[in-house]
């Protein structure tokens, strides 16, 4: 069983909203100083899903991250969780790609690696959150795609995936190889043990350029972008919270109830 997991490095999404700043002119987010970037939340759960499959069926996990050289950090994190190999895809031509460009580059690297049974992505990246790369990747590779997975089982080269719906679940069966996108309901990611962390730190993480994966640069030409961001903004919200007075919890509760009686 060989699983390839696509993982993205993102600014820490769990900073308090008050610390979240943008540069509307550059249409970029200003990362808060001193807060290191992290592996995108759903991608970490995709690594967890891959590790569970490896626990059960043995085999191998390869992770891929398209980003800056610093993305080696998230690759190492995945390795400390249980991945075997990892690559960073970094090239000037890979900057500012849309979902199609990203899926194209990831697809090229995946074709180079080859010999996989399952490709996992997060349901959506925690930064720009386009929610498309997994599906476009599947289309590029001509593979079945199962989105929003919250449990993945494999038997006799057949996948049985539980996927999350608004008011329940469904079970989908598909042949391998296939692509699946993972949702948070799959459960919390494992915490790497100390030894694994140390070994991951020593691991060689090759950096692949466009030419290493045979990427056709004309595919990444800016004139071919499918979507462009023309503006970003933070909605202004007036704080209008009325603090409920009271010296004791009982007083506070009485005051709140009297405010709410009209409403319910």
């Amino acid at each position: 069983m060989h699983t390839i997991v696509c993982i993205k490095q993102v600014p820490d999404p769990e900073i308090p909203p008050a610390k979240f700043k943008i540069d509307p002119v550059a249409k970029k987010v200003i990362p808060p100083p001193g807060v290191p970037p992290v592996i995108s939340v759903y991608d970490e759960r995709a690594v967890e899903a891959a590790c569970r499959l490896k626990d059960k069926h043995k085999g191998k996990i390869t992770v891929l991250s398209l980003g800056s050289e610093k993305a080696t950090d998230v690759v190492r994190h995945a390795i400390s969780m249980g991945a075997d190999e990892g690559y960073v895809l970094q090239d000037e031509a890979f900057e500012n790609l849309d979902s199609f460009g990203t899926a194209y580059v990831l697809g090229k690297a995946i074709q180079k690696i080859g010999g996989y049974d399952l490709i996992l992505c997060g349901r959506q990246a925690a930064d720009w959150g386009a929610g498309q790369v997994g599906s476009i990747l599947a289309e590029i590779l001509g593979l079945p795609i199962i989105t929003l997975a919250c449990d993945i089982q494999v038997e006799d080269k057949k996948l049985k995936i539980k996927r999350i719906l608004k008011d329940g679940f469904e079970i989908v069966e598909a042949p391998t190889p296939a692509v699946a996108t993972v949702s948070s309901e799959i459960g919390l990611p494992r915490l790497p043990a100390g030894v694994a962390l140390m070994l991951a730190r020593r691991k060689q993480i090759p950096i692949w350029k466009a030419k290493d994966i045979g990427a056709d640069l004309s595919e990444l030409d800016p004139s071919k972008v499918h979507t462009e961001i023309t503006e970003i903004f933070i909605p202004t919200r007036e704080r209008k919270c009325e603090m409920i007075p009271g010296a004791t919890p009982a007083e506070v509760a009485t005051n709140l109830v009297s405010k709410l009686v009209k409403l319910i």
């Binding site: 309901e185 071919k224 909605p235 603090m243 405010k259």
Partner: protein, 333 residues
């Protein structure tokens, strides 16, 4: 690019009726089509789709395409992608609107990959740029901390999945005229690779989250599944139900189907009581439509106080039991 014309809505049918999102999409779709001076069309798929076509015209569609094939009664990613992409290549809509629903979330990005269009997911606003005539979709980024406007200059169709309950439903006018086109193309079931073999509906205790008038929502600060009982007690008393943040669901204290937020459910009750949750934007976007938000949190700096109407800075364990008592007193004079 000028061969691509008109606004098309991908209809959904639930329990034999036009889904609420479809009527919402016909409303906003009509506005966009008017701004462009082009047609609004609707695609309806399913064994009994034909009977709904007239009604769709009353809701503003100029043209309704009906694909009456019972194979479409259940959504399948493989058949829908294949059939709709073929259909779009023939009809060439300039704009394609899809609901941000179970079906839309799965279908839209894959359809986009097949058609090589330009897609914005989870759009909360749509407009036509007056000078370029391009569709401008506004969508949340960074977990709802900010929003981006997205356009597609070169790719067609311009697609968006649209969040439910953002746009008002279209107004019905039975005197409207339109054309009904039946589409004969069948889908080849042998292309199905991924098959749905089972569907499990979660049985909800009490009212559904989306229908509830009162929701008591708990966060990681609640501390355990057992402590959530207190929230249940308050919710039952007020005829409502319980929701939760992702962190509370992650801990297994609450079923995952009760998660509220960007990647959970979007709710708009009359009263939303947010207990021991910090108010991350990705949670807040799921409950901003509530009439009244009450926040109980021991941290006065918590972001939830920036969106709440009423706030209590306290340990919830001290406040909730007395609050329950006071509501009981008030209800039985």
């Amino acid at each position: 690019m000028s061969e691509y014309k008109g606004v098309m809505v991908l209809g959904e049918i639930t329990e034999g009726k036009l889904a609420p999102i479809t009527i919402e999409l016909l409303g906003i779709g009509r506005r966009l089509a008017n701004d462009l001076g082009e047609e609004l069309s609707l695609l309806l798929m399913g064994g009994k789709a034909g009977v709904l076509a007239r009604e769709a015209i009353a809701y503003g569609a100029n043209k309704v395409y009906v694909a009456e094939d019972s194979l479409f009664d259940e959504y399948n990613s493989d058949t829908y992608t294949q059939w709709i992409s073929n259909f779009c290549q023939k009809t060439m809509p300039s704009i394609l609107l899809i609901g941000h629903t179970d079906i839309g979330c799965d279908l839209a990005p894959r359809l986009n990959g097949r058609l090589r269009g330009g897609l914005a997911m989870d759009a909360v606003n749509l407009s036509i740029d007056p000078s370029t005539k391009l569709l401008v979709s506004t969508r949340p980024i960074f977990g709802g901390n900010a929003y981006a406007k997205v356009v597609s200059r070169f790719a067609r169709p311009q697609m968006a999945t649209v969040r439910t309950k953002i746009f008002p439903p279209a107004e019905r006018d039975d005197s409207r005229q339109g054309e009904i086109v039946s589409v004969a193309e069948k889908v080849d079931p042998s292309i199905i690779k991924a098959k749905v073999i089972d569907r499990i509906k979660e049985e909800f205790e009490g009212v559904k989250l989306e229908d509830a008038e009162v929701i008591v929502s708990g966060g990681h600060g609640i501390g355990s599944a057992k402590n959530f009982e207190l929230l249940w007690e308050l919710a039952r008393l007020l005829g409502g139900t319980v929701g939760a943040t992702r962190r509370a669901c992650d801990e297994g204290w609450v079923p995952v189907t009760r998660q509220i937020g960007q990647s959970g459910k979007v709710v708009s009750p009359k009263l939303y009581i947010a207990v021991a949750l910090s108010g991350a934007m990705s949670h807040i976007v799921g409950c901003l439509g509530s009439k009244c938000i009450v926040a109980i949190n021991k941290d006065p700096e918590a972001n939830i106080f920036n969106v709440a109407h009423f706030g209590i800075v306290a340990d919830y364990k001290e406040v909730l039991p007395v609050l329950i008592e006071k509501f009981k007193e008030q209800r039985s004079p």
